[in-house]
């Protein structure tokens, strides 16, 4: 319980390895099986390649992969950041305005039902092959989970804390800064994390539909050339990108709300 006697980083790392040895063993086993199954079952190399070859061929094409990771990363991060910047104030406005809650909120819930990715071809046809349509599609994918969770977050202050705030006679602004905002952060982060997981999906699909660079473009082209080894290398970098974004958001969560139960559970 006490936080004063924290074990060293090394001790915690080794502790984690010991606790999750079964997972690590399974993980290694999975790739070993893949490596040898391809040989045993005599699967043609243009269908599936063993992991060792993916690493080898991927490394040979590293320059292109890194540049495309940068391209897709830029689309993803721009769309994600714009989604947060717009969704938070809009969520806040809806949470505190009865009129907006009765007009825009049900509208957003309806739009949420539409698979946003289905808009991708339209945006490509309207705006071309450049950066902008991809940013918009990532934005669309990220915006809804963030805004809906923000509305939930700002609307779910306990009755008790609401009464406490009223009994102090504090202004709405003081109440917001000292109680409503910190209380809302955990639920906001649920939206941030969900959006972070889906952001790269949006970017990749947008690139599938129409682009001349990026990891989605790369995966599509090399697959067309019967090069599953390079496709997997592309998928690997796309996964790294998603993990990176998710990692940054999780880090921000730990720094901003270290007191929250979901963070406490994962840090000790």
């Amino acid at each position: 319980m006490a936080s004063s006697d924290k074990p060293s980083l090394l001790m915690r790392a080794s502790d984690t390895i010991v606790r999750s040895w079964m997972f690590i063993a399974f993980f290694i086993g999975f790739f070993l099986f893949w490596e040898y199954a391809v040989v045993w079952f005599d699967i043609p190399r243009y269908i599936l390649t063993p992991p060792s070859l993916i690493v080898q061929k991927g490394a040979a094409d590293l320059d292109r992969l890194l540049y495309y990771t940068y391209v897709t990363g830029l689309e993803t991060v721009l769309g994600y950041v714009v989604a947060i910047v717009l969704a938070l104030p809009i969520g806040l406005a809806i949470a505190f305005s009865t009129i907006l809650r009765r007009t825009i909120y049900p509208f957003l819930v309806c739009i949420e039902m539409v698979p946003k990715i289905a808009f991708a071809p339209l945006f490509i046809s309207w705006l071309g092959f450049g950066l902008l349509p991809k940013v918009i599609i990532v934005f669309l994918v990220c915006f809804f989970p963030i805004v809906l969770n923000a509305i939930l977050a700002f609307n779910s202050l306990s009755e008790e804390l609401t009464r406490f705030a009223r009994s102090t006679g504090a202004s709405a602004w003081t109440t917001f800064l000292k109680i409503r905002l910190p209380a809302a952060l955990p639920q906001c982060f649920v939206g941030f994390k969900y959006a972070a997981i889906n952001a790269t999906v949006g970017a990749a699909i947008a690139e599938f539909i129409g682009s001349d660079e990026g990891l989605g473009f790369y995966i599509q082209i090399v697959t067309g050339n019967m090069r599953p080894d390079l496709a997997f290398a592309g998928i690997f970098f796309l996964t790294l990108l998603g993990l990176g974004l998710f990692g940054i958001v999780t880090l921000a969560e730990r720094l901003l709300i270290p007191w929250h139960i979901s963070v406490r559970r994962t840090t000790h």
């Binding site: 008790e160 804390l161 009464r163 006679g169 003081t174 139960i261």
Partner: protein, 255 residues
């Protein structure tokens, strides 16, 4: 003593039309300055509803409440309230939570440092002020919540079952501290509880409330010396008060 809180025909109805629920009242009662009065009744009898109405946090359907000569029409800011679920926020330490009450009122916590220290000492929390609520036991949390509710030195305190969720031994312990604090500072305390023994041990008067709709069945003056320790609690007079109260609830079919 002078009248601090005056209730005249106070009634609460939830909802309207056919679905309306007559929850409480009408009730007339006066609470004197400096007394410790318990609102005693089973759960659902409207005692918390009454407390919230006195605090101005819940509208009155009919009747009038006067607090220190002023009509209660909105939230009262010159009182200290302990709610059923404590209002400690998880992102602040014990000290930070106590300061929150001050900050919300625009008071610089630095100017009240000595008061906060003294308050923490009086409930034996001085060594736990940098702990977060989740690091504390239920009893310590309630002690911290108590400090939060009275750091702005209110003359009136409304306590809504502050010990309701604690084990018997912890309850006994905190009752003792609560009593000595009340004897020292003599604030007016309205104490909501469903424990007969607790009400009689702590109060100068006990308002016995019966449910559906909540009404004050009887107000019993508790004429026992303070502090009311174990000796007082095992005295025949104390037992007689317990019996009298039990009788009311038994006649009413509550127990």
């Amino acid at each position: 003593m002078s009248t601090l809180i005056d209730l005249a025909g106070v009634t609460k109805v939830f909802g309207s039309g056919a679905g309306a629920v007559h929850a409480f009242g009408p009730v007339d009662m006066t609470i004197e300055d400096g007394e410790f009065i318990s609102l005693l009744g089973p759960s659902g009898c409207g005692k918390s509803t009454l407390m919230l109405m006195i605090a101005g946090l819940l509208g009155i359907t009919k009747g009038e409440i006067t607090l220190a000569g002023r009509n209660v029409t909105g939230p009262q800011t010159d009182i200290g309230i302990m709610f059923q679920d404590n209002t400690l926020v998880p992102w602040r330490t014990v000290r930070g939570n106590i300061d929150l009450q001050l900050e919300m009122r625009g008071i610089d916590p630095a100017s009240r440092e000595d008061d906060v220290e003294e308050l923490l000492r009086s409930v034996h929390l001085e060594d736990f002020q940098e702990r977060f609520p989740h690091e504390l036991s239920g009893g310590m949390q309630q002690r911290a919540a108590f400090c939060q509710a009275m750091v702005h030195k209110p003359k009136t305190m409304l306590l809504d079952e502050p010990l309701g969720k604690l084990d018997a031994m912890t309850r006994e312990n905190i009752r003792k501290d609560l009593q000595s604090l009340w004897m020292q500072k003599r604030p007016t305390v309205v104490f909501v509880t469903h424990s007969i023994e607790e009400a009689i041990q702590l109060s100068t008067r006990v308002a016995v409330i019966t449910p559906r709709p909540g009404r004050i069945e009887r107000i019993i003056d508790i004429d026992l010396p303070f502090p009311r320790d174990f000796d007082v609690k095992s005295s025949p007079e104390f037992t007689a008060y317990v019996r009298e109260t039990q009788e009311i609830f038994r006649n009413y079919g509550v127990i």
